[in-house]
């Protein structure tokens, strides 16, 4: 009974995580985007906890705990602080409009299923079915990074991409070893803190956080 339910639950939660990535495309306000990231992280935490319970892995349970602490509380708080400091403003300013962006993302999901098919097919784990979904999240994270002009939205794209990689590792191998995961979390935290400082400096220097203004270095 439980063994039948487990893969379905995993797939469902993975789809929910992918759904938040799609919502990031639609959402036009920075504070809302930060909340979306926190929501996606929460879904991943639940997913990690479910896998931990199923495999009875204490290591994975502590990874889930660290994930919740870092990505549901600390990083969203840091980003919200940045949003308040630089002034709330409409976040989007995409190169492609929402409908076109959604079409592109649909295509990316298809590509993800094609590329990850050999991995999903050869994987004996019950979670394997959802591997392409995680990879689709990676591709959409990329797309958000190149499609948005605001520095902060690029950071959110990067964080969602990172979340999807975590999900990918979780589904393919029940997570990378504990010490590596902690190192990755530390790196992510430092990246966010450094990027926050850069956002302030960009705001000071260029009086805007539009990445378009960064175009002096050529050749």
């Amino acid at each position: 009974m439980v063994t039948e339910l487990f893969p379905r639950l995993v797939t469902l939660l993975s789809f929910a995580a992918l759904g938040t990535a799609f919502l990031l495309i639609v959402c036009r306000d920075l504070a809302g985007q930060v909340r979306l990231f926190a929501g996606q992280s929460l879904i991943l935490t639940i997913l990690a906890a479910v896998v931990a319970a199923f495999t009875r892995s204490a290591e994975l349970a502590s990874v889930a705990l660290a994930l919740a602490l870092l990505k549901v509380f600390i990083i969203p708080r840091v980003l919200t602080r940045a949003v308040v400091k630089i002034g709330l403003q409409p976040a989007a300013l995409p190169y492609l409009g929402t409908p076109a962006a959604l079409v592109v993302c649909g295509g990316l999901v298809t590509i993800a299923f094609y590329v990850m098919a050999p991995v999903a097919a050869s994987n004996p784990l019950p979670t394997a079915e959802a591997i392409p979904i995680a990879f689709a999240g990676v591709l959409i994270g990329f797309f958000v990074m190149v499609n948005r002009r605001r520095a902060l939205t690029q950071i959110l794209g990067f964080l969602m991409l990172e979340n999807s990689i975590f999900l990918l590792a979780l589904l393919a191998t029940y997570g990378v070893p504990f010490i590596v995961e902690m190192g990755v979390f530390l790196d992510v935290l430092v990246v966010v803190l450094i990027m926050e400082v850069f956002i302030y400096r960009i705001k000071e220097n260029f009086d805007s956080i539009e990445v378009d203004r960064l175009g002096r270095l050529k050749g």
Binding site: I165, V176, I202, R216
Partner: protein, 486 residues
């Protein structure tokens, strides 16, 4: 024991530097840590070359022949850049900017720490964390001057490198998955992955290597993922540019090499080689195109790094004994020559206050010592005898003639000729003519150039003779890579 000390020393130094309040203290700790690191690095290398494989921290740290080679390159050039940095930072910031001086010195050692950790860990996940760490440590160093240009460079560098290396993490996770599912429960250790390599699922390994190539290729500055490199390397302070271009790129290559060994066993040698050849050739082409019309001498040196990383990739792509030997030798030679040129470019910048080639005139008259060394370094970098790069490029093309498609060799040589003409033209413009009137005669930072004597001496040694110790060290690294004498 000593391995742990080697890795921890720069970290402790960084912590002390954050606490230190006086400039004398800052400078003393900085110099001592760099020289101490060099001593520890040499001790470890001699041990490895005697046949030991030192490990520490429950096997997380492990140094084999390839690690030892990289450790020597990092600590040696780290020490040279550190000693130069003392003078360079003095010339740029007086005691009223002590906070900047402190962050320069502290981040310098964090940077060294992350590179040393990357090349001495057996765990591929930790290696990834450390390589991402190099980006984080250098992001603020690129932005040290806090000008709009350096800010732009640092932001792009941070974003592009982080994304690139995120791809490398997918590759690492897939490799781990391939290992875990086929060889039972194994850690993400390179040694265990290599031992299990022949039983890995080739399809998954192929996919993993594609991610690794793009991911660590970004970090190594390979085209088309090189776009951050000319910005970041040209905006950073000279000693940091020297390390980023001369040493950090090698760390990216090092990661690629480790994964290539596993991939070669799992999928066969005919998979990774052509990819590396292609990406190497593309890097050479892109670099040649930009070098023909370079206007900024620091960017010129940065594009030259893209070219040389491409050369190294081609050596690995041709493979075989001579190809890999040439690639490893080229890593050493490029590190020696490029770091000295970047350090000298710092001198030129301090003198002329511009990075524009057209506004640097009469360097030979204005600062003869800098100009002479810059000219010699350029000739070395372009692969002229009697310097070491002539030998390593020759070995790489020799491997190509033996094994590779001939047209690749011919295209490679042609591109090198284009690079030769482009760079020599630009450097000539800088050397001759009459210096601008406001520029005074005489070199800035004479003593800070003294460490470069080591670079030039070694370049000559590697070009003219081939000492037994160096040959033995390279032999050891080649054995780790599973390449034997034909």
């Amino acid at each position: 024991m000593i391995l742990g000390a080697l890795v921890l020393m720069p970290l402790i130094a960084a912590a002390l530097l954050v606490l230190a309040r006086q400039r004398t203290w800052l400078e003393c700790i900085h110099a001592l840590a760099a020289l101490g690191g060099l001593a520890a690095g040499l001790i470890i290398a001699t041990r490895v070359w005697r046949g030991e494989v030192p490990t520490a921290v429950w096997g997380l740290l492990r140094a084999d022949g390839l690690s030892a080679l990289m450790v020597v390159v990092i600590t040696l050039l780290g020490a040279i850049a550190a000693l130069n940095g003392l003078g360079y930072i003095r010339a740029e910031y007086d005691d009223t900017h002590l906070a900047r001086v402190r962050s320069f010195f502290a981040l310098f050692h964090v940077f060294i720490f992350t590179m040393l950790l990357a090349v001495t860990t057996d765990n591929l996940g930790i290696m990834w964390v450390a390589i991402e760490g190099t980006t984080l440590a250098t992001a603020f160093l690129v932005n040290l001057h806090n000008t709009p240009g350096s800010l732009e460079a640092a932001y792009k560098y941070l974003i592009l490198s982080s994304v690139g290396i995120a791809l490398a993490f997918i590759g690492t996770a897939l490799m781990y998955y391939a290992g875990a599912s086929h060889a039972g429960e194994i850690a993400v250790n390179w040694t265990s992955l290599r031992a299990a390599a022949s039983s890995l699922n080739p399809q998954v390994v192929r996919l993993a290597f594609a991610f690794i190539l793009v991911g660590y290729g970004t970090k190594a500055g390979l085209a088309p993922m090189h776009t951050w490199l000319p910005d970041a390397h040209s905006e950073a302070p000279a000693p940091i540019s020297a390390l980023m271009s001369g040493v950090l790129l090698n760390v990216g290559l090092y990661a690629l090499i480790r994964f290539k060994v596993v991939t070669d066993i799992a999928v066969g040698v005919h998979f990774a080689g052509p990819w590396l050849l292609g990406i190497g050739l593309l890097s050479l082409t892109v670099a040649a195109a930009f070098l023909v019309a370079s206007r900024n001498y620091k960017r010129m040196l940065a594009y030259s790094s893209v070219e040389h990383v491409g050369m190294i990739c081609m050596g690995l792509g041709f493979g075989g004994y001579w190809g890999v030997l040439g690639a490893l030798l080229h890593i050493i030679n490029h590190a020696l020559s490029k770091s000295s040129l970047f350090i000298l470019s710092g001198n030129i910048l301090l003198k002329y206050q511009t990075t524009d080639i057209r506004r640097v005139r009469g360097l030979l008259r204005a600062s003869p010592l800098t100009a002479g060394a810059f000219a010699a370094g350029t000739l070395a970098l372009l692969g002229l005898p009697p310097f070491g790069l002539f030998m390593s490029e020759f070995l790489i093309f020799r491997a190509g003639v033996e094994s590779g498609p001939m047209w690749v060799v011919m295209l490679g040589v042609a591109l090198l000729a284009v690079v030769f003409a482009g760079m020599l033209g630009s450097v000539n413009q800088m050397l001759y003519g009459a210096p601008p009137e406001k520029v005074e005669h005489g070199d800035v930072l004479r003593w800070s150039l003294a460490p470069l004597a080591v670079n030039f001496a070694l370049l000559l040694v590697l070009g003219l003779t081939f000492p037994h110790t160096i040959a033995e060290a390279l032999e050891q690294a080649l054995r780790v890579l599973g390449v034997s004498h034909a």
